[in-house]
């Protein structure tokens, strides 16, 4: 099914380009893009820039997760913390990351860490929201069961809260994993220093190499798909019990 729709998409695109009135600088055909892919793929440029982008988004995702987990736990468990912090967290979401990214590059001197930080900001919120939702979804009666069995806080955390919140946490991580690609890219837009897919995209656009722009976009989608797939795989392993339904 997916294959059929993909072939259909390519064919439609090809027809649009050959019969349409578009200049190939505005809309390159699939053949042009393929040719360009072979060039940048062959000389190693695509791989090099991709690896740089990946080396930014993975730590971005990891650090975002590491900050969101304890903070989410605190917000879900303490109504005081929630009252104090959530107005700022919500207000911060009204500011587009693209608007504060230039500031971050001023504050953080390292090009690399500035980009990582932008990725952190992008993935952080959806993961945080899902951690809170996951913890709130733990049934009160299961807490009562654990208390009646005189479980320690630590046991409640490891044997109840983590496994109960895991499905919703992983759903958040899926969103975060795909967003981390956007995060790294935004970081590269504001710091386009000779490396990363964002840099490749910006330079290709300046040089009107529209086919290269397409190659970068396709690569970005592929990375996002792989990230999503990795979390989905993790999900399948960790949530084997869900498949039993």
């Amino acid at each position: 099914m997916v294959l059929v729709s993909f072939v259909g998409l390519l064919a439609g695109w090809h027809l649009l380009v050959t019969w349409g009135a578009y200049d190939r600088f505005i809309l390159p055909g699939p053949v042009d893009v393929w040719r360009q892919l072979l060039i940048v793929g062959g000389d190693g440029r695509l791989l090099k820039h991709s690896l740089i982008t990946i080396s930014e988004l993975l730590p971005g995702l990891g650090i975002g997760l590491l900050i969101a987990m304890p903070l989410g736990y605190l917000l879900a468990k303490s109504s005081l913390a929630e009252r104090l912090l959530s107005p700022y967290l919500i207000a911060s979401q009204a500011i587009p990351v693209i608007a504060i990214a230039p500031l971050l590059t001023i504050w953080v001197r390292s090009t690399y860490w500035a980009r990582v930080l932008v990725a952190v900001l992008v993935v952080f919120f959806p993961i945080l929201i899902n951690i809170i939702a996951g913890l709130r979804a733990v049934p009160a009666e299961l807490y009562e069961l654990m208390h009646s069995l005189q479980a320690t806080r630590r046991q409640i955390f490891t044997k109840l809260e983590i496994p109960a919140a895991l499905p919703i946490l992983l759903a958040g991580l899926k969103v975060g994993a795909t967003l981390s690609v956007i995060g790294a890219l935004v970081g590269e837009f504001v710091q386009p220093k000779s490396q990363g897919l964002g840099y490749l995209l910006v330079t290709a656009r300046y040089q009107f190499k529209t086919d290269l722009v397409f190659v970068v976009l396709i690569t970005l989608s592929a990375i996002a798909l792989v990230m999503y797939g990795l979390v989905a795989l993790l999900e399948k392993r960790l949530l084997r019990w869900q498949a039993s339904k």
Binding site: E141, L142, E144, L149, Q155, K159, W241, S244
Partner: protein, 270 residues
Amino acid sequence: MNVAFIIPHSSFIIFQMDAFLTAVQVEYIFEDGPLHVLTDISLSVPAGAFVALVGPSGVGKSTLLRLIAGLLRPSAGQISIANHPAHQSPNPVGLVFQRDNLMPWRTVTENVRLPLELQGKNDPSARRRVQKMIDLVGLAGFEQNYPAQLSGGMAQRVALARALVHEPPLLLLDEPFGALDALTRERMGQELLRIWQAMPVTVFMVTHSISEAVLLADEVLVMGGDPGNGRPAAITHRIPIHLPRPRQFQMQSAAEFQRHAAAIRAAIQQ
């Protein structure tokens, strides 16, 4: 164990030699209302007895059960289990709710094992005990199933096995069969009797089925009042059930059974 016993019909408690679960003039107020739910609750349940608690919904039955489980503390008065305050009971009680409350990410075996795991027990004898409980509730062969693969009755059996695996002296049941269909419910009642007779456990069960209460219990406590409208609930009647054991469904048509059921119904409606 099945000798009829008599508890004075007053809030004054005469301590019996073998009183195992006792409550003395317990009051309970939910602070966030504030809502005065329970007043002057006194009980004395001998070890090994089967007591049922009935009453209209919203009267405070679950609240009393939570107090006995040590999940809530009385606002006044004391509750003790084997001479320990309820919230400091050295051996945790067994608890079964209306919904099975199994952990969906654990298999049957893993769910039943939970209380022992929390006590740090994972030796071969603990594993044998888990298997014994699974066998006792008739779920041999389903050890590796997840809760989502079980019927409502089966899931409730797992909850029962989990509640009993650590050999609690007291089993607390809050409308345990309320979500099951009538046939499954009757069968589960019989199972519960069989298990109770096989183990040295005292049972305290909240139910809204009068016939279930008569069929299972040594004594039925009736709770009355209307906490939502300023009348905190108390235990208004204690009705000993003088029916021979073992008890079976067929008894439900006996005149003696009907007489008990009628007495309880009258007590609730008072």
